[in-house]
């Protein structure tokens, strides 16, 4: 008789999920699935709304990365208006995007992942959370909280509000950046740089303890996709897409994100609300690709800022040109945080960012618009069709987390095979399965456009589907 283990809800991720682990008669894991069990229908409810409402409406998809949705949505709007942004608006958008990635990555690293990393995967569950960590490492936690605050403060200073600011619009942004706001941003830079470097040092110091996890938490070959600029450097706001394979060979380069549907497609499985995007030329599921920090760091030639580049060199010295180990998402996230702080400084010192002209105005000049940017969790696409009056007729959202769906499933299965052993479930086993998911820092609210914080359930089932054991954590 074979069995199935279910982890539900998966904790310390954004959203709701369930993991099913199928085991055979001997308790050996045969397969595992990561299901997303909620559905929201944002694409549907946007239909019939005016184009200019879209950035605000789409921002509501997620409270962690509203900025990414505002940006992708505004960019789709720019394309529909057929305008080129005033330089100040363009730079404001880039600045806020870096701030958004920084605050989201800080949340992922300090608040969500560091309990596992610093206290250990087998630390008792009552202590293995942010507050437990705060008792043991108050300084580390304090700095992490401050760093996230920095990112959010920038969003507040530029956008007017920390979460869901009314700031981005088709054609630009709503208001110029003030000198005072710019100066405050610059004041934070030294502390932010120090915190990120401190976090990187801590992470590198403990990395060796996680050999087992590095090997088995989602270490498999796949494609990686990310946005790069003309020089092959990291780019968050606008550039071309590059795909590399598991050895780092460039599979495709210079892809125009506005033509994403020519090289990406989505498959659906009846056991999950989250779709399964894949790289079209390699088919489904062979076209499995990963996005997000690890993917971006894998595809770039260099980061494009001095400190981040130094870390990238060291990162690459730890293995091949390309890291397939999902555990390294954490590492990549840290390198990106460094890049963000450096970029924020660069953008904030650029006098053009203070420009008064921040909005290009135009009517509806194209009936279709696609906007993409690099969200904290990977490439994000918003695709709209409008009528001549600017009323939205059709929306397609391709979300970063969904693009990691195939990879997360692969990672969960691999972790389950390694750490779960048959008829009994232990906290440590389940936590490793969860940790495999958490590497991707998935945001399920975004990817299913689904609502609320959802916890994880893990179910243990026989191959025929009979439920054997179930563990739920809220």
């Amino acid at each position: 008789m074979s069995q199935r283990i279910v982890i539900h809800p998966v904790t310390r991720i954004e959203g709701h999920a369930k993991v099913s682990i199928y085991v055979d008669d001997h308790g050996e894991v045969q397969s595992a699935q990561f299901h997303v069990t909620e559905f929201r229908g944002f694409e549907k409810l946007a239909e019939g709304r005016p184009l200019h409402e879209m950035p605000g409406l789409m921002s509501r998809i997620c409270g962690i990365c509203p900025i990414s949705h505002i940006l992708a949505s505004s960019k789709a709007g720019d394309m529909i208006l057929g305008v080129e942004l005033p330089p100040a608006a363009y730079k404001q958008r880039r600045l806020v995007n870096c701030a958004q990635v920084l605050q989201s990555h800080s949340l992922s690293f300090f608040h969500l992942s560091s309990p596992d990393l610093l206290l250990g995967m087998d630390a008792p569950v009552e202590r293995r959370h942010l507050f437990g960590l705060a008792e043991q490492e108050p300084e580390f936690v304090r700095r992490g909280i401050r760093l996230r605050q920095f990112g959010q403060r920038i969003i507040e200073l530029v956008g007017g509000k920390r979460i869901h600011p009314s700031w981005g619009a088709p054609g630009g942004v709503l208001r110029p950046l003030t000198v005072e706001a710019r100066d405050e941003i610059l004041q934070w830079i030294p502390e932010a740089l120090e915190t990120v470097e401190f976090a990187i040092d801590r992470f590198k110091a403990i990395l060796d303890r996680f050999q087992e996890e590095i090997e088995h938490l989602g270490n498999f070959p796949s494609l990686f996709m990310g946005t790069v600029n003309e020089d092959g450097e990291l780019e968050f706001y606008d550039g071309r897409l590059r795909l590399v394979d598991a050895e780092g060979n460039i599979v495709a380069d210079g892809l125009n994100p506005e033509r994403y549907f020519t090289f990406l497609a989505e498959a659906a499985e009846e056991w999950s609300y989250m779709k399964f995007p894949y790289y079209k030329p390699l088919g489904y599921p062979g076209g499995i690709y990963r996005v997000g920090p690890l993917a971006r760091v894998n595809v770039v030639h260099s980061m494009g800022t001095p400190r981040a580049d130094r870390e990238l060199r060291e990162f690459r010295q730890r293995g091949w040109q390309v890291h397939n180990e999902s555990f390294y998402y954490h590492y990549a996230r840290l390198i990106e945080m460094l890049y963000c702080v450096e970029k924020i400084e660069e953008l904030a010192t650029d006098p053009e960012i203070l420009g008064e002209v921040v909005r290009a105005k135009a009517g509806i000049n194209h009936l279709e618009g696609i906007g993409s940017c690099e969200a904290p969790r990977g490439t994000l696409f918003h695709h709209y069709q409008v009528d001549e009056d600017g009323v939205v007729r059709k929306v397609n959202l391709l979300i970063a987390t969904a693009q990691n769906n195939l990879a997360m499933n692969r990672a969960v299965e691999q972790a389950a095979r390694r750490f779960v052993n048959g008829l009994r479930l232990t906290e440590g086993m389940l936590n490793r399965v969860e940790a495999a998911i958490r590497c991707y820092d998935p945001c399920l609210s975004c990817s299913t456009h689904a609502m609320g914080q959802m916890p994880l359930v893990v179910e243990l089932r026989t191959l025929s589907g009979e439920l054997l054991d179930r563990l739920q954590r809220d």
Binding site: P50, L57, S166, D389, G390, V391
Partner: protein, 238 residues
């Protein structure tokens, strides 16, 4: 012109014969809530928010439509009135789809302000969630029926001040809708002069300038006083 003396909320006030309780109260700094009244155009008593108690009267009266009378004793802020007003606002919110967080008028909406003022922290009736359209056919303006409260300010200002009479109300009950001309898309209207007066007097985000995004719409109705003064007194002053 004869002068009437009356008591509003315990204060002795005076107003000209024919003046409404509403105007006299406001002239004396007594704020009565309203959504359909706007100074400079006629009153219709559509929103029922300005209901007041008058001693000796069996029913509540709409302050905007009730002329002052000698010796009247009016109360504008009783617990009963507050209850009624709160329910009216809840009904308005439940009748159509008010999603403030993504509305062009968010933060400067008369309905939203009133809801906040009356302590509407939730709505006790079921939302109707009607499927209503947005008319974006006009070159400069949009009409979102989801946010329309049928106050008819737009209908009156267009008729009485602009003189175009583009807007009307069609249908009955919950099917009641603001229509341009004989129910044409606004952009096809032959009577609309695109002056935008209707947009500026609209208390909510129902009428707005195209291209405005969340919270970006501010209404400016200083023009009304200017035009009305110019017309009535032949004085062109702001």
């Amino acid at each position: 012109m004869s002068i009437k003396t009356l008591t509003i909320d315990g204060r002795m006030v005076t107003g000209a014969a024919g003046e409404s309780i509403f105007d006299v109260a406001w002239n004396n700094g007594i704020r009565i809530p309203r959504l359909c009244h706007v100074g400079g155009i006629s009153d219709v008593g559509a929103c029922r928010l300005c209901l007041v108690e008058i001693e000796g009267w069996p029913k509540l009266a709409a302050a905007c439509l009730t002329p002052v009378e000698e010796g009247m004793v009016v109360r504008t802020q009783t617990e009963r009135l507050r209850r009624h007003r709160k329910l009216i606002v809840e009904l308005l919110l439940a009748e159509r789809n008010h999603v403030c967080s993504v509305c062009v008028q968010n933060g400067h909406c008369e309905l939203q302000d009133l809801a906040a003022e009356l302590g509407v922290d939730h709505v006790r009736v079921y939302y109707r969630f009607p499927r209503l359209g947005v008319d974006m056919s006009h070159e400069r303006f949009g009409l979102d029926h989801n946010r329309c409260i049928l106050c008819t300010r737009c209908v009156r200002v267009c008729d009485e001040v602009e003189g175009a009479h583009t807007w009307d109300v069609a249908g009955r009950g919950v099917n009641c809708m603001i229509v341009a001309d004989m129910g044409e898309p606004w952009g096809n209207s032959e009577t609309c002069t695109s002056c935008g007066k209707c947009v500026q007097v609209c208390p909510t985000g129902a009428l707005f300038e195209k291209g405005k995004t969340v919270g970006e719409m501010y209404k400016d109705r200083r023009f009304l006083k200017y035009i009305v003064t110019a017309r009535e007194k032949r004085q062109w002053i702001r």
